[in-house]
């Protein structure tokens, strides 16, 4: 029997049960998952292990707006390790009001295949 060692513990967030899923690796370098109680849990663990992704929600500076900021988000989940780079990129920007919810503010940010879109309408300050 090959001895499996736990290389990562993933807490499943698919439902409130919160299973603790262990990613284990044996001598043959093959990764297996233990501790999930449903298929969705296994999918989540695999995604989290190989390619964790997150939706990023932040704000962007606005000139002449009713507010100095507009809330924005990525229109799809992006690699977790790229969140910081994207935040820095967004922080460099300053846009002008008016803006409509859903407007694409930055297209294909850093070539990650996701757009930065506006989360609300923002009118011009009179």
């Amino acid at each position: 029997m090959l001895e499996l060692s736990t290389i990562k513990i993933i807490r499943c967030i698919v439902c409130p049960t919160g299973c603790e899923i262990k990613a284990k690796k044996g001598a043959n370098e093959k990764v297996t998952f233990e501790g999930y109680t449903c298929e969705r849990g296994l999918e989540y663990a695999q995604q989290e292990f190989y390619e964790p992704k997150r939706i990023l929600t932040t704000t962007m500076r606005i000139e002449n707006g009713l507010l100095p900021l507009i809330p924005v988000r990525t229109d799809k989940a992006i690699l977790k390790e790229k969140l910081k780079d994207v935040l820095v990129e967004i922080a460099k920007m300053k846009l002008k009001a008016p803006i409509k919810m859903g407007d694409i503010l930055i297209e294909n940010i850093l070539g990650l295949g996701a757009n930065i879109i506006a989360s609300r309408d923002l009118i011009k300050l009179d």
């Binding site: 807490r11 049960t17 929600t57 704000t59 009713l66 989360s119 309408d121």
Partner: protein
């Protein structure tokens, strides 16, 4: 004095106010929304993270996106609203007094009032933290408004007291803005917010979560310089000798929410122990024609649940205006709901006996987490009216049940129903 006369006046334009106003308007009534902030939307506007709308729209939205849909609907339906307007008095005759810069004093005469004022955060005063009173101490929601709406960072190094969802979400938000969050400190032995937030807001950024601890001293005279945290025992008393100092320039408090019911009390509406008004199954308060929904009634976990409750309220308020207003109504015969074992509170507080054949939505929270439980509704003679198994209950997750009590065989002369959450008998046998 400017005077308005409407069928339904809605106080507050957050998720609850907007959804209830839309429903009342769709019932072809005249509606007026009153909002104290400078735009419609309420607190959802500052909740820029995602996770909203999965129930209501079956897609995952941010707070602003969620509420924008209702703002758009209000505008399409041409529902009138007053901004920057503070309601300072309501009475049981359904007259409402408010003030704003343009009009000065305003009187609104309404046939029905919908209370949708939301809740406010508990502050340092509510939890009695000793020490000086320097600047740099904020509630988590206040800091959220500064960061997400007004564009200010309230500090550089943070300690967050309380592991509610807003506290954890702010921990991530501040980290993303380049701040250092030293720790999230929780007095309970477990996280009070959702697991999802614990994983994605704290663990993703290696922010330490310190459970069974609370802040027992604030250091610094002009600006906060740090906090002392102490371990607590089972009664939440601090354990002497367990103190640790954490340096920080800002302390955020995420220590619970209180329904905002000053106006409610003025109208003579009775409050229940959760801080919200006593309501019947039609979400009508103890004053006829005054209804309540959203966080002013009970603090919800999800805005989607607020919307569902508010839609019901808008509909019943419209029905009231159309069929009951101005008619002599005989005293309502009701059944009283009582919180039993491990039930913190239950809504509604009363059930109209006329409605027993309808599906009634019950919501409640437990006092402490438990697994493999039995939820039971019992009458005053301990006969079980309804029971249901549940794998997992936790105070941060509101339980919602839709029950037809007549079909469950409730006795016609039932006066009170006790709701309890108890360990399943088979579990007890196993342990014997």
């Amino acid at each position: 004095m400017n005077k308005y006369k409407v069928d339904v006046v809605v106080i507050g334009s957050g998720a609850a106010g907007l959804a209830s106003a839309v429903e009342a308007k769709k019932a072809e009534l005249s509606v007026l929304i009153i909002e104290r902030d400078h735009e419609l939307g309420g607190i959802t506007l500052q909740c820029i993270h995602n996770g909203f709308g999965l129930k209501e729209f079956e897609e995952e939205l941010t707070g602003p996106e969620y509420i924008q849909r209702f703002i758009n609907e209000v505008k399409e339906l041409k529902i009138p609203y007053l901004l920057d307007t503070m309601v300072f008095e309501i009475n049981k005759d359904k007259y409402l007094y408010a003030v704003n810069k343009q009009e000065g004093l305003i009187e609104v005469e309404a046939k029905a009032i919908i209370l949708a004022m939301g809740c406010r955060e508990r502050t340092r005063g509510a939890i009695n933290i000793p020490g000086f009173r320097p600047s740099g101490i904020y509630t988590a929601g206040q800091a959220q408004r500064f960061v997400n709406i007004e564009g200010y960072l309230p500090g550089n190094t943070f300690v967050i007291l309380g592991s509610g969802d807003i506290g954890m979400i702010m921990a991530r938000r501040l980290t993303w803005e380049g701040c250092k969050v030293k720790a999230v400190v929780e007095i309970l032995p477990y996280v009070s917010g959702l697991l999802r937030n614990q994983v994605q807001c704290l663990e993703d950024y290696e922010i330490p979560l310190i459970t069974n601890y609370t802040v027992t001293k604030i250091h610094g005279r002009d600006r906060i310089k740090g906090v002392t945290i102490s371990k607590v025992d089972r009664n939440f008393d601090r354990i002497v000798g367990s103190e640790k100092f954490i340096e920080c320039d800002t302390l955020l408090l995420s220590v619970g929410l209180i329904p905002e019911n000053e106006l409610t009390l003025q109208a003579g509406v009775e409050l229940s122990k959760n801080g919200g008004p006593v309501v019947d199954n039609n979400l009508e308060t103890s004053v006829e024609g005054i209804f309540a929904c959203g966080n002013v009634l009970q603090v919800h976990d999800l805005v989607d649940l607020v919307t569902a409750e508010a839609k019901r309220t808008g509909k019943v308020a419209a029905e009231y205006v159309k069929s009951r207003y101005d008619k002599e109504i005989k005293a309502r015969e009701t059944i009283k709901l009582v919180s039993g074992d491990n039930v913190n509170y239950v809504k509604p507080d009363l059930i109209n006996k006329n409605d027993l054949s309808n599906d009634i939505i019950f919501t409640f929270r437990v006092s402490y987490p438990d697994r493999r439980v039995l939820i039971q509704f019992k009458d005053e003679e301990n006969s079980i009216i309804y029971k249901r198994k549940k794998i997992y209950v936790i105070p941060s997750e509101m339980v919602e049940l839709s029950i037809n009590l007549e079909k469950q065989g409730i006795k016609p002369d039932c006066k009170t129903i006790t709701v309890e959450v108890i360990p399943r008998p088979e579990v007890l046998i196993e342990e014997d």
